[in-house]
Each structure stands twice: as C-alpha cells, then as structure tokens.
C-alpha cells in the first residue's frame, strides 16, 4: 500500500466574515486522514461544520487556515479525483439519466464513444439499467440518488464524498441503498479507493464506516475519533454494535472539558449573549412526558428513547439540551434524567405547567428575563423588537439574534411572560384584546 494518504487535512480552520467585520468561526483545529480502503464518517449535528469540511475537501470552498492535501498536493478548486454525492441529489432536471451521468465526462471532453461506454457501465453498475432515457422527475427518490451515485462514480474518482446521501430518503429505501453500496464496496466493483461520509445518523455511521469522527458545535471541531472494527456486513442488533452506538451517544452528550468548555458550551446560561435554539414548547412538554412515563420513569437512555420516539439525533438533541438549559433535565453519559421540576411539569395540569415554565424561563433564560425586566421598568410596558436585536448583535450574527428572539417569543408566549405583536414588531405586557 502507498504510504501517502489519499487525503490529509492539517489544522484546518474555516471562518466566514460577518458584516460588522468580525468573523464567524465554523471549523477549528480539524485534522483528518483518509487512507486507501477506508470509509470515514463525519458525524455531528447540523451546524457542527461537517458539511463545511466536506466542501473544503471537494474544493468548493477554501480553508481560512491550515492545509487540505489530496495525494500529497494542496487542493485548489475541485480536483479531478474527488467526486461528490449530494443530499438533495442535485440532478439536472432537464437532462435524462444518461445525460446527467455523462455530464462530468463531457466536461472533461472525453471522446464521445468513451463517454457512452463509461456512462452505460456506471448506470449498469448502480442498477439503473433501463432508466437511461428517463428524466429525474419520473424517478423515485431512491432511483434519483442512484443517479447521483452513478454520476459520481463515472468519473472514476479516487475519493467519493457523500453529504448525508440517505437522509432525504425514507427508511426502507435508505437501507436498500446503503446495503447495495456496501456490497459494491466490499466486492471492490467501484473505482473508488476511499470514502468520506457525512451523516447525522449514528447507526448509519456505525453501520458503514471504519472510523467515525464525532463533531462538536460552536465552533465545529472533532470531539473524538471512534474506530469501528466490526466485520461487514454488520448487524444492528449485535451487542457490540449497540455498544458502539451507545458510546457515541455518550461522546456527543459529554460536557465539554478543557479550555474550550466555558467559551464553547452551547448553553452557558450566563447572559443574553448565548444563542437560543428554536424548540417549541410542545416538543419540550412531549419529551418530558415521554421520559416521565414508563418504561423510563424519569430517566431515559438517549438511543433507546430516540428509537422509541423515532427521532434522529438532529431532532432529539436540541430538545434534550433545551430541557437541560431550562433545568428540567440533566444530560449525562448518554442519559436524559428529569429534575424534580421536570417531573412535576410532566404530571401537572395545563395552568400549573405554565406557572412552572414561567418560573424556569425567567430564572434560566437570561434573554427572556431581560425582556420581561425591560417591559416591567417601562411606563408604557412595551418595547420595540429592534431594541433587543441591536443588543443581541453585540454577541452574535443578525440571523442568530433573530432566531434567539423567535425562541424567546415562543416560550414567552407559552409561559405568558409577555406578549408580542409581529405586525408592529412590539413586545408588551398586555394580553391581546
């Protein structure tokens, strides 16, 4: 085997400039190595920068600092040996299956006959025989993603990048596609030498990858690296498989330690400067009820309750973390444990729930408390939204400020802490007449 890795990222950092001149850091200290014959998974939630890293590798964006090397050479622009499969398929709707597949070769100005031969071979390999003249709109989601695979494989890339390729598909279709892909990979029938898979599905990562890099957010960074040495084909029910899934859950819910902790924790709860996730009160109440009820009785294993409620980590984690921020639950070691008030909330009537929620909202969400204080102090008991946006923008981007305020408004309305009139963008203490 060659000594030079297929791909190597060293100390990669990516930041986007903000309008006010500061920068938004999305990736930091990213080190990654892909060797021949490996499938490496980038696992994390949305906003953890895993897709950004994939785009740096694809040559679609440039790192702000650090080094991305393909076969030892720095990447500048899309490299010929790296092809990508997209989450939303990204097929050209005006081209047939064949034309979509042939496009990449056409761009390389390959001889016509060669294009035809290779495209048909790729279509054949991926199981699209007979669909050559169909337009993407005539195909089901699974078939469309097959075109996405054929289009990537036809250029004979060394590295295949996959950006959540199965997340837009239904469960059954996704599983079929995964299995087909793993079969082709195991049999060595695809021209690719290494794969990088971006996913937010823990089981998918354990099922497909040889190594999983777990990403943390704000800014995106690698929390840990987990080797999966189970033999293929893997069985989801295998105890060692479950154990790995559990371990990743624990990794992803671990409280950050070290110097980064104070700065990067998602809900430091210290001031109005922390970004609030937009999680509806229905979801919060629903999860508390589910955890309070049997078989969990107040303490739930995250993978278990996740599969129970059919929630992916992208949906489950923000709710769980919001509960933690509101001190309704504690999140540790892959478990979600309700606090006393959390349990009380789950068993309370609607009016009592609102009272409990109001108390926690004003105690533990500084932005909500701040809005309420301003409204209380003013004679008119009203305040413009822009006033708070301006304040928040000292800490975060305009978009994040809007999002945080939306969350505060929705919780504030539920708790009847204050009212908000969207038409005039005004906060007030009055109830609508």
């Amino acid at each position: 085997m060659n000594d030079c890795p297929l791909l190597q990222c060293t100390d990669v950092r990516k930041a986007f400039p903000k309008p006010d001149g500061a920068e938004l850091l999305v990736l930091e200290g990213m080190n990654l190595e892909l060797r021949e014959g490996q499938i490496v998974g980038l696992l994390g939630r949305s906003g953890s920068g895993k897709s950004t890293l994939l785009r740096l590798i694809a040559g679609l964006a440039e790192p702000s600092a650090g080094d991305v090397r393909y076969l030892g050479k720095p990447i500048a622009g899309p490299a010929p040996g790296i092809a990508m499969v997209f989450q939303s398929f990204a097929l050209f709707p005006w081209l047939t299956v064949f034309e979509n597949v042939a496009l990449g070769l056409e761009a390389q100005r390959m001889p016509r006959a060669e294009i035809r031969k290779r495209s048909l071979a790729a279509i054949d390999l991926i199981g699209l025989d007979g669909f050559e003249s169909a337009y993407p709109r005539e195909l089901s989601g699974g078939m469309r993603q097959r075109v996405g695979f054929a289009r990537a494989l036809v250029v004979h890339p060394n590295i295949l990048l996959m950006d959540e390729p199965f997340s837009a598909l239904d469960v059954l279709t996704a599983e079929t596609l995964r299995t087909d892909f793993l079969d082709l990979w195991a049999e060595g029938r695809m021209p690719i030498k290494g794969v990088i898979l971006v996913t937010h599905n823990i089981e998918e990562a354990v099922l497909m990858c040889d190594r999983v890099l777990v990403f943390g957010s704000n800014p995106g960074r690698i929390l840990s690296e987990i080797k999966v040495s189970l033999p293929q084909p893997r069985n989801r029910l295998d105890p060692s498989f479950r154990e790995l899934v559990e371990r990743i859950y624990v990794e992803m819910t671990a409280r950050p330690t070290g110097p980064a902790a104070g700065r990067h924790e998602r809900f430091p709860g210290s001031g109005i400067g922390s970004e609030l996730p937009h999680v509806s009160s229905n979801l919060l109440a629903g999860l508390m009820e589910a955890v309070a009820a049997p078989p969990f009785n107040g303490k739930a294993d995250l993978p278990e309750i996740g599969s129970n409620l059919q929630m992916e980590i992208d949906e489950l984690f923000p709710v769980a973390e919001t509960l933690q921020m509101l001190r309704f639950a504690e999140l540790e070691g892959g478990d979600l444990k309700l606090t006393e008030d959390g349990l009380a909330f789950a068993h309370a009537s609607l009016d009592e729930r609102k009272r409990i929620f109001l108390r926690h909202l004003l105690n533990y969400v500084p932005l909500a408390a701040h809005i309420r204080r301003v409204l209380d102090e003013r004679a008119s008991h009203s305040a413009r939204k822009s006033r708070f946006v301006d304040e928040l923008e000292d800490f975060m981007s305009e978009e994040a400020a809007e999002k945080s305020l939306r969350a505060a408004v929705s919780w504030g309305r539920y708790a009847e802490a204050f009212a908000y009139d969207d038409e005039n963008a005004m906060f007030s203490l009055e109830n609508p007449t």
């Binding site: 990508m84 997209f86 100005r109």
Partner: protein
Amino acid sequence: MKRFEPYAFLSDYASRWDVLAFIVVIGLIVFLGETSRGLFAPLTQLELTPLSLDPKHLPEYAARTTFRMLAALTLSLAFTLTYATWAAKSERAGRLLVPILDILQSVPILGFISVTVVFFMSLAPGRVLGAEFAAIFAIFTSQAWNMAFSFYQSLRTIPTELSEAAESFRLSPWMRFWQLEVPFGMPALIWNMMMSMSGGWFFVVASESISVGHTTVALPGVGSYIALAIAQKNLVAISWAIATMLIVILLYDQLLFRPLVAWVDRFRVESEPGMRVPESWALTMMRRSRLIQAATVAFHAGVLWTSRAVQRSDAPESDASAAPKRSLDLLWVLLIIGAVVLGLWHIVLVLIKNTPLREALQVCGLATLTMLRVFILIALASVIWVPIGVWVGMRPRAAQLVQPVAQFMAAFPANLLFPIAVYGIVRWKLNPDVWLSPLMILGTQWYILFNVIAGASSIPAEMRYAAANFGVNGWLWWRKVALPAILPFYVTGAITASGGSWNAAIVAELATWGDTQIQARGLGSYIAEATTAGDFHRIVLGIGTMSLFVVIINRLFWRPLYYHAERKYRLT
C-alpha cells in the same frame, strides 16, 4: 398557475443606487433627444410606400407586424442573456445595473418613440430600415426589462447544491451557462416572455405609424393600417384590422407560446410531479415530426460542440491580488461618477435650464391628473373584476374556460379598439376628460382578472370547507376568507395594470377620428401633443416626469403593499 413576481428580488424601498440609476437613465434620454433634434431634417425627405385599406393586403401587413415582434423578441433575448448575466455575476456591476433596469421599466417608452425614430433614421438615412429599427426598438423596450429581471432573479436563486454539482464536476463557465444557468432560468423566462408579448402587441401597433412634426412615418403593418383607417374614418377597415389581430395573436399563442410553455415544463426544478402537465398540440406535433427531431438533435450536438470548442482554463480561479482589485473598484466608482455627472449635466443644462418653473408646475399638475385617473380606474376595475374573478376561480370548470380568454384579452392591443370609443365620444359629444379615461385601462384590466382567478383557484379546498363548516357566509366570507386569500395575487395584477395604464395614457388621452381631435387633460396628452409638435424639450420633460411619478408610486405605494400582502396573506 404561475405568477409574475414583480418585486421578488429587491427588498429595499429605495436606495442611493436607485437615485443614481434614475439620473443615468433620464440623462441618457435627454442626451438622445438632444442629439436626435439635430438629425431631424433628413426625415422630412423620406417617402414611404403608401398603404392601402384593401383587406387583401392585411395578411401581408400582419406578417410584417409579426416579424417585427419576433425580431424584437430575439433582441430582448440576447439582451437578457448578456445584461442579466453581467448583473448577476459581477457584484460591482449588479449594484448599478439592477436599479437601472428597474427605472427603465418605469419609463413610458411609448412617448419616446418619436425621439428614437429620428435617432434610428439617422443611422440609416433615407431608408425605411431606420423606422423599422425604431419600431423594433420600441417593442424591445416593452419586453426586455422584465425578461432580464426574471433571468437575473433565476441566476441569483440557483439551488446551491446544483451549483456545487456543476462546480465539482468541473464544468467550464461556458458549459455551466448553457447546461445549468440557462435551463434553470428558462421557465421563468418563457413566462415573462409571454407577459412581455402581451405588452408588445400594444407597442407594435402604436409604433408603426408615428407622426413627428409634419412627417408621418408609416411602416406597412396592422398598426399603420388602423392609423390610416382612423384618418379616413373607415369603421369597416378597423373591424378588419381587429379581426386580423385576433387571428394573429391566436396563432402566435398556439404556435409559439403554448409549445414553449409545454416544453419548458421539463426545466422545472421542483421535482414533485406537477398538478397538471401543460399540453400543446403543436408541441406534440413537433416532437413527432422527424424533421424537428433532427433539428433538436443537431442543436444539442451544437451546444455540446461549443462547450468543447470554448477554451477551459484548467487553472483554478486565482484570487486576484488585492491591489488590482482595489484599483478596479476605483475605476468602477469613477465610471459611475462620470455617468452620473454626465446625466446630471444633461438634465440640468438641457431640461431644467429650458424649463420655466411655470411649465414644470403645470406638468406636475397634469401628472397628478393622470395619476388620479389611473387610481380611480384601477379601483373601478377592481370593483368589477375581483368579485367576478373570485366567482370564476372557485369553479374549476369556469376558470378553465375564462382564464385563457382573460390572458388573451390582455395580449390583445387595446389601442385597436380606441377608434370605436372615440367615434362614440365624437358622435354623442361626451366629455373627453371622463370618457377617454376608460381607454387607459381597456387593455390592462385583464391582468387584474386573471390574477384574481389564479388566486381564487389556489385557495385550498380544505380552507373553503372549513369556512362552509363554520357557517362563514356573505360579507364575512369575503372579508375573512376570499379577499385575504387573493390579495397577493390581486396586488400583482394591480401593479401590472397600473404600470400599463400609465403607458397607455400617452395614446389614450389624445385621440383622433378623421380630422377631429379630442383630448383629456393629463400628462399623457401633454406628451402626445409634444410628440406631434416635435418639441423635444417637452417630450423629455413629460417622459421624465412620468417616470418619476411611476417610480415614486411604485416605491411608496405598490411595493410596500406587495410585501405586506406577500408576508401576511400568502398561502403556502
């Protein structure tokens, strides 16, 4: 039902770039008017083939009118693909180019035909060609702006993943343009082309027969035919012309646009199967014809061949070092300052210096009169068409029948019907200030109707069931269900109708029948009069004032209303 979205791309009401754009555009018009004035002489020596009112010439005239339309459409397409691409690809250029487009949309080019005629005739002195150019240019100006806008908007909204796919498979810029950008923009472009055509017929009729000073330039065509019929008070000939136009528009629709709309359905990105696939017998015929098939295959091969032939730079785009970029920026700023100064120079020196304050005030007063007319007419048309549109839209059967008719009526050049109305006004000695006004909205009211129909038919069935279930009836139903649901659609239609009415004012406020001339007081008749007199200062003053009014009304009234309707009442 697709909708024409007038403002989907600009969210601010006005910026300094708009002001700059306004100065540049009006400055350019003044400049054109100034230079053309000196070239006025050759025009008088021109002689054109006399027209004949014999209906047997009508097919030929219709063919020539249609040819002008096609030529203008081709030009508009070329303009769209270049201007919009430039504006979208260069942030620097886009900042000025987009507002310029927006201002140009508001310029009533109908009043400007006389100036452009002289200008184009000077390019081809003593030839009919100059007048042909001017007519084609006039049609072009009625089509190009919104086409360019729609393409610009498409270019800015290409889905990220499609664009990334194109990049990661290393398509050359040329290939990217033809394989991704043009196909992606195609559906919106075709739709806007259709809308443009509707306006175009109006202009082609108006621009074929132009009187400047003592000269009348009459190009053979349906428009000139009708002008001659008016001069000779020949109602029979006018009926022939109307019938011819009906047939021409019908053919155009069936042979050109229907196939295009059906064909372009393939380019839609939203992958869910559409509610109803547009059909066209002409397209089916073409698809099945071997000849046409061979032609399409050849075209495809051509596109692929060019993408091979055009050089691709394999080197990645290197970041231009900061220094030349900054000097380019500086150059661009200097260029804009230059254009603005020149524009101001012309406006001040020619327009303002030669305009007594009294005249300026008078023009503003006339503009206010026309504005009043437009608003009253829109209100009247709304009172009539909104209930009818809602009624029709709620009944799919009726909608299917009425919708094409409404779109057809919008395309039909209403100025062909003017003589009939004028004949009536003269005959019964009606007050022209009142009775000429409806002509302004004759052609544009249909936009209100067909947008309302589209809105009403898009009300979800469940919402209607819910209203029925809770016993929401009568006036309450209109107030709480129907009117809010159609509001975004209605506003879109009203904006189009209002814009069109301003333009129509120029031909509607001053009308002739034989040697009788009747006039309604307003900015439109002011411009029309100035045109007949060949008084370029007053033409430019009138056009400038009208543009200013239209821009201000758009910014202060229609655009806020549009956003409000979109935000609050859009059913998704």
